[in-house]
Symmetry: none
Subunit: 196 residues, 4 copies
Amino acid sequence: MSLREKKTAKKKADILRSAVEVIAEKGYHATTMEDIAAKLLMTKGSVYYYFKDKQDLLYQSYKMLLEQSNKMITEIINMNLPIKEKLEKVMKSHIVFIISERSSYGLKVKPEHYFEGEQLEIIFGLQENYANSFDQLIEEGIQAKIFSEVDVKIVRNLIIGAMNWVIQWYSTEGKKSAEEMAEIISEYLMKILIRS
Amino acid sequence: MSLREKKTAKKKADILRSAVEVIAEKGYHATTMEDIAAKLLMTKGSVYYYFKDKQDLLYQSYKMLLEQSNKMITEIINMNLPIKEKLEKVMKSHIVFIISERSSYGLKVKPEHYFEGEQLEIIFGLQENYANSFDQLIEEGIQAKIFSEVDVKIVRNLIIGAMNWVIQWYSTEGKKSAEEMAEIISEYLMKILIRS
Amino acid sequence: MSLREKKTAKKKADILRSAVEVIAEKGYHATTMEDIAAKLLMTKGSVYYYFKDKQDLLYQSYKMLLEQSNKMITEIINMNLPIKEKLEKVMKSHIVFIISERSSYGLKVKPEHYFEGEQLEIIFGLQENYANSFDQLIEEGIQAKIFSEVDVKIVRNLIIGAMNWVIQWYSTEGKKSAEEMAEIISEYLMKILIRS
Amino acid sequence: MSLREKKTAKKKADILRSAVEVIAEKGYHATTMEDIAAKLLMTKGSVYYYFKDKQDLLYQSYKMLLEQSNKMITEIINMNLPIKEKLEKVMKSHIVFIISERSSYGLKVKPEHYFEGEQLEIIFGLQENYANSFDQLIEEGIQAKIFSEVDVKIVRNLIIGAMNWVIQWYSTEGKKSAEEMAEIISEYLMKILIRS
DNA sequence: CATGAATGAGGCTTCATTCAT
DNA sequence: TATGAATGAAGCCTCATTCAT
């Protein structure tokens, strides 16, 4: 990658990060290209040099978020840890990620409304991959007789829902840090799974 | 209330219900007045006969949802039932309500972004009331030594989050009815609270 | 005229008066049918029983004002008074009329923009009649060697302009009554005409 | 000021001038953004690039007119001329200005209906400044025993009213040029003041 | 590359007008 | 007669997008 390419890539990443933040805060439709550009002291026009259109920006932001989540969960799955600790680690990472990025917006949205064709397939694929990884961990725990025999998909959805909701109520001004909160939450959620 | 007044009230309620559905489906900003009106075979203009503006429509829809939720939870609280059953009943009602209204959108939104002044206070008040009622049930269970000694607010938020998320994944075309699903979910979520 | 017809006529007159007031205050386009009706505790719908449309209301109001002005000036012309006193009387009446009706709006407007065809001709006719009457008085004064030999049309326009403008600055809360103010103004304006 | 800034300033001025003309012709409410833009072969959208909204356009047009008037009257006041000639010059300039700009609409309007807050204060300030300058000239003439001892404010209002009214009746297609007409009018109006 | 400017489609809102009751 | 409701045209305004410089 040449210097120029690197610069371009960096700029693209900057814009994506800015977009993620603003869209997460205000929602896709309420966010204007102006908003995204202004945050980077750019003009609207410049953003169009790097991204085809607003929809493209949304797609790439969302994709980036999902890829990061998938990367994270894959790494943890491949660690050499007891299943319970693995799942806890995933939950904690998920929560900290949501809080730090102040988003998960991608996850709150019905992708069918925003994407179509190939884009939609890719997004679905990434979401499915994450869900499957999650399910895999739950199933592993069940087989190890550490988790009780729950309906995997339902429980996965409950846990993800509870976690994604955190952004609605967690305040960075409160007493607990994101890590502490993630610790507490994952412990509570684990109760749904642990055999009693 | 005269016949005419009743008709007007009904129409208003119809519009609110339509608005709730569409906004829940597409989000506030992506929803047009046209969408809301078309669903009722009305014209945009007519909607303005009943509601001041789009914002007013959002406010009244949201308020209606919250009031219904509060009514529901209050009724259950006043029933003569064991605490565990009360909380389960609340959860089941919450889930069935969300699925049937195809919304909870109100609940997924940061009210500060959409309301201000007196409206915001009223909305906050209603939300707080619901949260407090929920907390009250949890605390009662803790005192009765039936629930374990959790952080009430955090657990409440987790449970509500998990439930509100249902709309993201539950499909009315699946095998389970809303009631069955609510039954299963409340059982799982109860595990967070029950002493082991 | 039957009782019913009388009632109708009265109602029409009421509406016209209301319309005159509101339109004078806010201007034709800024005035809504609602405004006019509300002032009489009526509904918009009712107004349409008496007047074809908004334009008709404007036309008839304007016509009424002009007819009243013409009636007034004709009456004064036919009085047995010295010419100077006649013209003063006309000016005072004009001013008091404007202040009391809080209008003259008709007069501030270019009729070509609001009327066409027969309506426009009638309005022009009434305006012309008023102007001619005014001119007639001025000419009479000139012939009597009491007024100096001015360009009649120009002076008439200046005087009418100065008078119509009164509504812009006269405050009913000030010290002087409409009549006192009319007295003072007509004295000043007379100076344009009086031989020195 | 860079070239680009100059261009922008020019465009803004163009739009203001266009707005002044159309609003003077049809009135604020009857004027559409389309009208204003079309006159300059622009699209509505472009106008919004330069002005926040229609109200802003009105405010800035009106302000510009008043500022020009104030500049004019101040310059004349500072000239070294007999008081009578000064006042005549002011009147003639006022009239020519009104005719050439085809407006004075600003001056025919009650600012309270269109502006509020700071805008209203600024407009009132500019109007007051003009009125005060006018009064100052009249008072100077009175003290010099050249004008008779009139009520300054009333006479000022009469003169301004008579002048602003000119736009209602002066036709550019008539025999007299704007300058000639201004000459004649100022002579007539001066009679209100001159001692006899 | 970046930006100021321009555009046009689309959404919100108002309001004159109509009409069934 | 009177009115509550409904309608649709028209006007304001925003904003994604394009383009010349």
